[in-house]
Structure formats: structure tokens, C-alpha cells
């Protein structure tokens, strides 16, 4: 019993578990919208864009989360705007703008900074380094995102299914899209410290994609996605502590395992139905 509880003994591990719980829940519920709106590429892109903000904040001695938030939100609103105005397809806009922001981050890092060791941890995450103030920020931002999603739950759902009719009926679809992009940016920033830029998109997309295999209704999809998200993040952290692997990668692999299991369950169900 003591051995099972060993990971929870240290204070830094307790903080890490709380952070994992919050981030797992936040990413996977936001991920429901990401998957239904086919925005998977945006999650990945926004995470990469945040790197420029982190580097700029690092060079100027500012709070990294603040820098990341500014750059990510501006980039997110930028792609929304360019996409609507210039009639360029969304994936092309993302491909251009987000790689540009990531490149800018690398350029600034290599050009101005001697030691880049700290920045490496943002690429791959460092959940064990979550401080008391980091944790407060994570919980605070997660609460904020949760409240805004609860407030805009219906227009978010309607514009995910049928933005044109929603707009004709008087829902301001571009505004709702911008709200979603800002919330996604905040979600990604909250998650960066846990899994890092490279893997954060998986926490957004994979649990929701798994849930989509198991249910054909929206609310159950969000709930199942949330459960899978928490199992992946908390379970992944526990496992990584026990076997000494990288926490972010372990979380993502666990989420991926759940995805394949869900696919299998769905395939078996369909076969039963057709028999």
C-alpha cells in the first residue's frame, strides 16, 4: 500500500498530480470542440506559436505564461481574421502563420540567448517543476476557461454543427469562433508546462477522438472525453513516476492506447449490429 502511494508523498508530486488532473480535464473537454470543428491542426499550430512568446518573455525577463498568452491569442485571432477576410483555407493560414511564429521563437532563442536550457523544458514539458504559483495560475486559468465555456455552451455547440444557420438566426458566429480560439490558446498555455509544445495537441485531440468512437451524443462525448483525459494525464504521471519515463510522453501514449481500445470497441459494436 505504501509503495502504491509513494508518488503522492512528496509535495512537488502532489502539485504535479493536481496540475495533471486540471490540465487533463481542461484539454479533453475543450478537445471536444476541437474535434467536432475539425481544428486539430490549430491546437498543434497554436502550441508552436506560443514558443515565440515564451522566448520573448524569457529574453525580456517577463513571466513566460504572460508572453505565451499574448503571442498565442494574437496569433489565434490573426488566423481567424486572415481566414475570414482573405478567403484562404484555414489549414493553409495555420500552416503559414504558426510555423512562422515557431520559427521566430527559434530565431530569437538562437540569436539572442546564450543558454537555451530553460526553453527546452517548454518543448517537452516539466511537470515535476510546477511551483505553487504555477499551480495557482493553472487552476485560475482553467476555472476561467470553464466558466466561459459554460456561458457560451449553446452558441459554441450550434456554430460547431451549423454556423451558417446559427448566424442567420442572430448568433454572432465570428465572435463565437474568436472566443473559442482565445479559450484554446489559454488551454494550451495552461498545458505547456505539463506536456510541452510538441505533445500538447495530443491531449487536446486524442481523448475527444476516442470519445467520438464510443458515443453519438454531444454531452456524453464531452464527459467520456473528460474521463479519458484525466485517466491519461493522471495515470500517465503515475506511470512515469513508477517506471521512470518522461511524463508528457507517457500521458500521450496512454491517451493513444485508449484511442485504439475505443476504436476496437466501436468496431466490435458495429459488427454486432450488422450481424
Amino acid at each position: 500500500m505504501d509503495a502504491l502511494l509513494a508518488p503522492f508523498a512528496e509535495q512537488y508530486m502532489q502539485r504535479a498530480f493536481v496540475a495533471a488532473l486540471v490540465v487533463g480535464l481542461l484539454c479533453s473537454t475543450m478537445g471536444t470542440y476541437v474535434v467536432l470543428r475539425k481544428l486539430s491542426f490549430i491546437g498543434d499550430g497554436l502550441a508552436h506559436a506560443s514558443f515565440a512568446g515564451i522566448v520573448i518573455a524569457y529574453l525580456r525577463g517577463l513571466n513566460y505564461a504572460f508572453g505565451a498568452a499574448v503571442v498565442t491569442v494574437v496569433t489565434a485571432l490573426g488566423i481567424g481574421y486572415v481566414h475570414r477576410r482573405a478567403k484562404i483555407s484555414l489549414d493553409t493560414t495555420i500552416g503559414v502563420l504558426f510555423t512562422a511564429a515557431f520559427a521566430l521563437g527559434i530565431f530569437l532563442m538562437t540569436h539572442y540567448s546564450r543558454s537555451s536550457v530553460d526553453l527546452q523544458s517548454y518543448l517537452f514539458g516539466s511537470i515535476l517543476g510546477v511551483s505553487q504559483s504555477d499551480l495557482l495560475m493553472i487552476v485560475g486559468l482553467a476555472l476561467f476557461v470553464g466558466i466561459v465555456v459554460a456561458a457560451f455552451y449553446r452558441p459554441l455547440l450550434y456554430t460547431s454543427f451549423d454556423p451558417i444557420v446559427a448566424e442567420a438566426a442572430g448568433i454572432r458566429a465570428p465572435f463565437i469562433e474568436n472566443v473559442l480560439l482565445v479559450l484554446l490558446s489559454l488551454t494550451i498555455i495552461v498545458s505547456l508546462q505539463l506536456v510541452g509544445i510538441i505533445l500538447v495537441a495530443a491531449l487536446l485531440v486524442t481523448p475527444a477522438a476516442s470519445a467520438a468512437q464510443l458515443t453519438k451524443r454531444f454531452v456524453p462525448m464531452m464527459v467520456i472525453s473528460g474521463v479519458f483525459g484525466v485517466v491519461s494525464s493522471v495515470g500517465g504521471l503515475y506511470l512515469s513516476y513508477t517506471i521512470g519515463s518522461a511524463s508528457g510522453a507517457t500521458m500521450v501514449l496512454l491517451a493513444t492506447l485508449l484511442f485504439f481500445v475505443s476504436m476496437g470497441v466501436s468496431a466490435v459494436r458495429r459488427r454486432r449490429l450488422s450481424l
Binding site: D162, G170, K216
Partner: protein, 247 residues
């Protein structure tokens, strides 16, 4: 009362002129049919009135206001059923309930009236028995009825329907006709595009033929007897046409 006033509207998509100087007034309690060949700008006209497409020049007013300035819930728009992903995780009832969403503020709960509006709309389109079915498991006619039910549940003051009778069975068309005529009797202004000319007199009080402009306008029998639609159909047939309908 003038419900819809379209004045000298031109809509251009890059090099294609979809609408070129449309003038149209529609009174409350009137069902207006819009016919014209593919690419004639029928759908664009509906979208412009719905405020989804901004005119390049000219003005559209609905109940005296710009469509975007109307109170949420005023315009009920029924698109062609190909326009959405039917794999979306939603039941028939979920989709029809969305009709109420524009009227609900942040954090608001469904009221008794909201529930009743949804139940009534489901019943009106004969969908009550299918309410809990996933939308991917519906026939084309049932999907079309779901879209109309969503618009009805919204309790709009203006109804715009984009080819609701295309590809549906006779029973669905009868159900739609009954619902739309019932709304018109209650004073609702309705605009509807269609290819189906056989029953134009049952559906509409007034019919216009559109091909970028309004070529004929009047009661359905007179317009169809006038031959404007036949002549553009032949024209389209021999010369082909730029498609500007789907934007």
C-alpha cells in the same frame, strides 16, 4: 406591412456577378416562390436577405432593419441538407432544440416555453417518434423535416427555405406544405427557392423568376404561363451557366 425590402442589390463573388440589380418587396402573410436555373442566384438571394452575404451595392431591410441588426431569433433559415456534417453527435431533438439557442442568454436554462416550442415543432413535422434517433440515421426527407422543425422551434418572424422539396418523398413534401401554409395563414412572410413547378400554385401566393435579376413576378399561374422560366431554362441548356449558387 412590408417584411422584406430588397433595393437594387448587386452581389459579386470576385468575377462572378450572382445578383445584378434585384428589387423585391415582400409583405407579411405571403409565401413567395423563387425559381430559376442553377447558378441564377436563388440561394444567394436568400443568403443576402438572411444577412449571410453582404450586398456589393444596394440595401436589404427586414422589418425595417438591416438583417444583422435584428433581434436574435427573427430569421429562420433552412439550408440545403448537404450543408452540414450529419455525423455530428446529435439526435433529432438536439438539432431541433438548437432553434431555441439564439433566444437564450449565457447560462440560461430551457424554460417550459422552450421545451414546448421544441415538442410542437417535432410534432408539426411528424418527428416525435424519431426525436431520440441520431441524425445520421435519417432519410433525406427526415433530415429536411428536422431542419424545418429547427426553424419552426425558433419561432421566427421570417422564414427562408432553400429548396426544401428537392429530393424528398411525396409524404415529406405534403407535410412541409401543410406546415408552411399554416405559418403563412398566421401572417408569416416566407421566401422559398424551388425547382418544383408542378405544385407552385399550392405552395405560393406569388412567384418570381430569377436569373441574376427578377425576370418575372406575379401570381404563380400567370408567371408560369408567361414563359419567362421556360425561356431561361432553354437558354441555360444551350449556353451553359456560371455557377454562383454555392458560396
Amino acid at each position: 406591412m412590408i417584411a422584406v425590402d430588397v433595393r437594387n442589390v448587386q452581389v459579386r463573388y470576385e468575377r462572378v456577378v450572382a445578383l445584378d440589380g434585384i428589387n423585391l418587396e415582400l409583405n407579411a402573410g405571403t409565401a413567395l416562390g423563387i425559381v430559376g436555373p442553377n447558378g441564377s442566384g436563388k440561394s444567394t438571394l436568400l443568403k443576402t436577405i438572411a444577412g449571410l452575404v453582404k450586398p456589393t451595392s444596394g440595401t436589404v431591410t427586414v422589418f425595417g432593419q438591416s438583417p444583422r441588426a435584428l433581434k436574435p431569433g427573427t430569421i429562420g433559415y433552412v439550408p440545403q441538407i448537404e450543408d452540414v456534417d450529419w455525423q455530428f453527435p446529435a439526435s433529432v431533438r438536439d438539432v431541433v432544440s438548437m432553434g431555441r439557442y439564439p433566444r437564450l442568454g449565457p447560462f440560461a436554462q430551457f424554460s417550459v416555453h422552450d421545451r414546448k416550442a421544441v415538442a410542437d415543432a417535432l410534432a408539426a413535422l411528424d418527428l416525435t417518434g424519431l426525436a431520440d434517433r441520431h441524425i445520421a440515421q435519417l432519410s433525406g426527407g427526415q433530415q429536411q423535416r428536422t431542419f424545418v422543425a429547427r426553424a419552426i422551434a425558433q419561432e421566427p418572424q421570417l422564414l427562408l427555405l432553400d429548396e426544401p422539396t428537392t429530393g424528398v418523398d411525396a409524404a415529406t413534401e405534403d407535410a412541409l406544405l401543410e406546415v408552411v401554409r399554416g405559418l403563412v395563414r398566421g401572417g408569416m412572410p416566407v421566401l422559398m427557392t424551388t425547382h418544383d413547378l408542378d405544385r407552385a400554385s399550392d405552395w405560393f401566393d406569388r412567384l418570381i423568376v430569377v436569373d441574376g435579376r427578377v425576370l418575372a413576378d406575379g401570381d404563380p399561374q400567370t408567371v408560369l404561363a408567361g414563359g419567362a422560366y421556360v425561356s431561361i431554362r432553354e437558354h441555360t441548356h444551350t449556353h451553359g451557366h456560371l455557377r454562383a449558387d454555392h458560396h
